[in-house]
């Protein structure tokens, strides 16, 4: 924890004589957030702040591991060994992101097993974008370019999130996501400049992934449930619509360089606003996919549950072995 915040929290504890004096704690917390200091695991924090972070970090962690599935779908069919190596490394990175994020959640007092149970039972969500299928090789590129690209736009501001462990995890994650974004772009560029079939494959993928990518920023500001409080807590720094606009403005020139079209007839530069205008998002689709009615909701969660259930005997064996051999040296524990 930053020293000033520590000092204030300590003062608050002294003032309360050890009993919880929420007023003083709240005051110290608010002051630390206002001063752009990081809240650390051992600092006092409001219950609702903790709950919001747990929900958001868990959902983010779940998205990383569910997000492995649509791309892993192409590892065994990658059309060159170089692309295969890049894709395997990417999917591995996503598993690593899951690990950092579950660890960040653990600092708030919830274990990975508990969170995985909530994912498997459907009581916690993951990003809806992964409920769309990867139908061709070009989808791997479209995911890298658009989905990792949208994730970066969302996550760069999270590097300054008020909660220290989450902010630090985001710094590492964003570095890797920007590799993924560039690799996806480069994959699409190769297809776009390739044969007519390859070009068509790339265009088709962008046609299918564009709108769902815009939905990744969440509902419009006037319908967003958690936004205002998260902004006040400096968990969130920009509104959903601001980030979405930023993403569109980034993508338009990139699509041009790719030689691909974004599937939106209303997309055009607005001189007055200094931004691109774009067409209306189909929020019915968004809510339907969120509710579980997307093309792959059932498939993704079933695969996740199956991997977990089929791996139970392995985890049990590791635990039994560790218990039998605790205290020995030379045998590493799982």
């Amino acid at each position: 924890m930053a020293t000033a915040a520590a000092h204030r929290t300590a003062q608050a504890q002294d003032a309360s004589g050890g009993a919880a004096d929420t007023g003083a704690h709240q005051h110290a917390f608010d002051a630390a957030v206002a001063a752009e200091e990081r809240i650390e695991p051992r600092d006092w924090m409001p219950d609702a702040y903790r709950a919001t972070l747990v929900r958001q970090i868990a959902q983010h962690a779940h998205s990383e591991i569910i997000g492995m599935q649509p791309e892993a779908n192409w590892i065994t069919r990658a059309p060159s060994l170089r692309r295969k190596a890049i894709l395997m490394a990417k999917v591995q990175d996503e598993a690593g992101h899951g690990l950092y994020l579950y660890s960040a959640a653990e600092t708030l007092g919830v274990g990975r097993d508990e969170l995985l149970d909530k994912l498997h039972s459907g009581s916690q969500k993951y990003s809806s974008i992964f409920n769309y299928p990867t139908l061709t090789w070009a989808d791997v590129g479209a995911i890298g370019w658009l989905v990792d690209g949208a994730a970066i736009t969302n996550q760069v501001p999270l590097c300054r999130c008020s909660y220290g462990p989450y902010a630090r995890a985001m710094v590492r994650v964003c570095k890797e996501e920007s590799f993924h974004q560039r690799q996806g772009y480069e994959l699409l560029l190769a297809l776009s400049r390739g044969t007519a079939e390859q070009h068509a494959m790339a265009q088709d993928a962008v046609d299918r992934w564009w709108w769902p990518s815009l939905m990744m920023f969440g509902p419009p500001d006037d319908a967003s449930r958690h936004s205002a409080q998260s902004m006040a807590w400096k968990i969130k720094r920009h509104s959903n619509d601001e980030l979405r606009q930023r993403f569109v403005d980034i993508c338009v020139p990139q699509a041009e360089s790719l030689g691909l079209t974004l599937p939106d007839p209303d997309l055009r530069w607005n001189e007055e606003r200094g931004h691109h205008d774009f067409g209306a998002i189909d929020w019915t689709e968004f809510h339907e996919v969120l509710k579980g009615n997307g093309p792959c909701n059932e498939q993704r969660i079933t695969q996740r549950r199956r991997a977990h259930e089929e791996g139970a005997w392995v985890r049990e064996a590791a635990a039994a072995h560790a218990a039998k051999h605790s205290g020995e040296t030379g045998v590493k524990q799982a």
Binding site: I65, I75, A95, L187, G194, A318
Partner: protein, 239 residues
């Protein structure tokens, strides 16, 4: 493609690495625990890196990987065996990485063409072997169920291990010496894991040297069909 002695050996070792990497890649999204998603991908990536260097010694890596027919692949039958449950994957890893480690340690100190590659790869493979050993110990000496599964996996794959010690043209390694070092190492791990060293023959009576001579097992054709399909569907395209 050249067919020098070196190319023959590079293809044999390169195909081993390519095929095992592919099999390990099939685990992505299915591993029993998140740490193993990372570990199995790590091993797969190391092997793919080795495969690319070795295949490039023999020709164009993508032509060799994607355009050869099944009978032209000279990998060991062991590495093409399906993943099965996690115990089968670990048994396959233990058998192969022990072999690869012994082989590369020997090649690294010769002055042959493979010395530079082997010197680098032997460090990677040491980790693969350690990973397999630790899991063999956990599964063998874990629960009753894991013991049973690990024993079954070790027994099932034993018949594919004899092929590793047959001479490969271009590799100056003593096969019998390799076999006894391998046996000692693997037996030691299995015993510490409270497992029984399998007693059956180390190769099927009808398939001496099979994989190295381009004779494979049924699942391999399906694996290649999946791996090669997209590349073959777009002749001449670059990716």
């Amino acid at each position: 493609m050249t067919t020098t002695v070196t190319a023959t050996a590079a293809l044999a070792l390169g195909d081993d690495a390519l095929v095992l990497s592919h099999r390990l890649g099939e685990w992505a999204g299915h591993a029993p625990v998140l740490e193993e998603e990372v570990a199995l991908a790590n091993i797969a990536l190391d092997l793919l890196g080795q495969a690319r260097v070795l295949l490039s010694t023999a020709g164009d890596e993508d032509e060799l990987a994607y355009l050869r027919e099944e009978r032209a692949f000279t990998n060991l039958q062991l590495v093409e065996q399906p993943n099965g449950d996690f115990a089968h994957t670990i048994a396959r890893q233990l058998y192969f990485s022990t072999y690869q480690h012994l082989l590369y340690a020997r090649l690294a100190v010769t002055d042959g063409e493979f010395a530079p590659l082997a010197a680098k790869a032997v460090k990677e493979v040491a980790y693969h072997r350690d990973h397999a050993e630790q899991w063999t110990l956990r599964l063998g000496d874990g629960t009753g169920l894991s013991h049973e599964r690990m024993q079954r996996a070790c027994d099932a794959l034993w018949r594919f291990t004899g092929e590793m010690f047959l001479p490969v043209e271009g590799l100056a390694v003593d096969g019998e010496q390799l076999r006894s070092a391998w046996l000692e190492s693997v037996s030691g791990v299995l015993r510490r894991a409270t497992l029984t060293v399998p007693e059956g023959p180390q190769s099927g009576a009808w398939t001496a040297g099979a994989g190295r001579q381009g004779l494979h097992t049924e699942p391999f054709g399906r694996m290649l069909a999946e791996m090669q399909h997209l590349h073959r569907s777009h002749p001449g395209a670059s990716w």
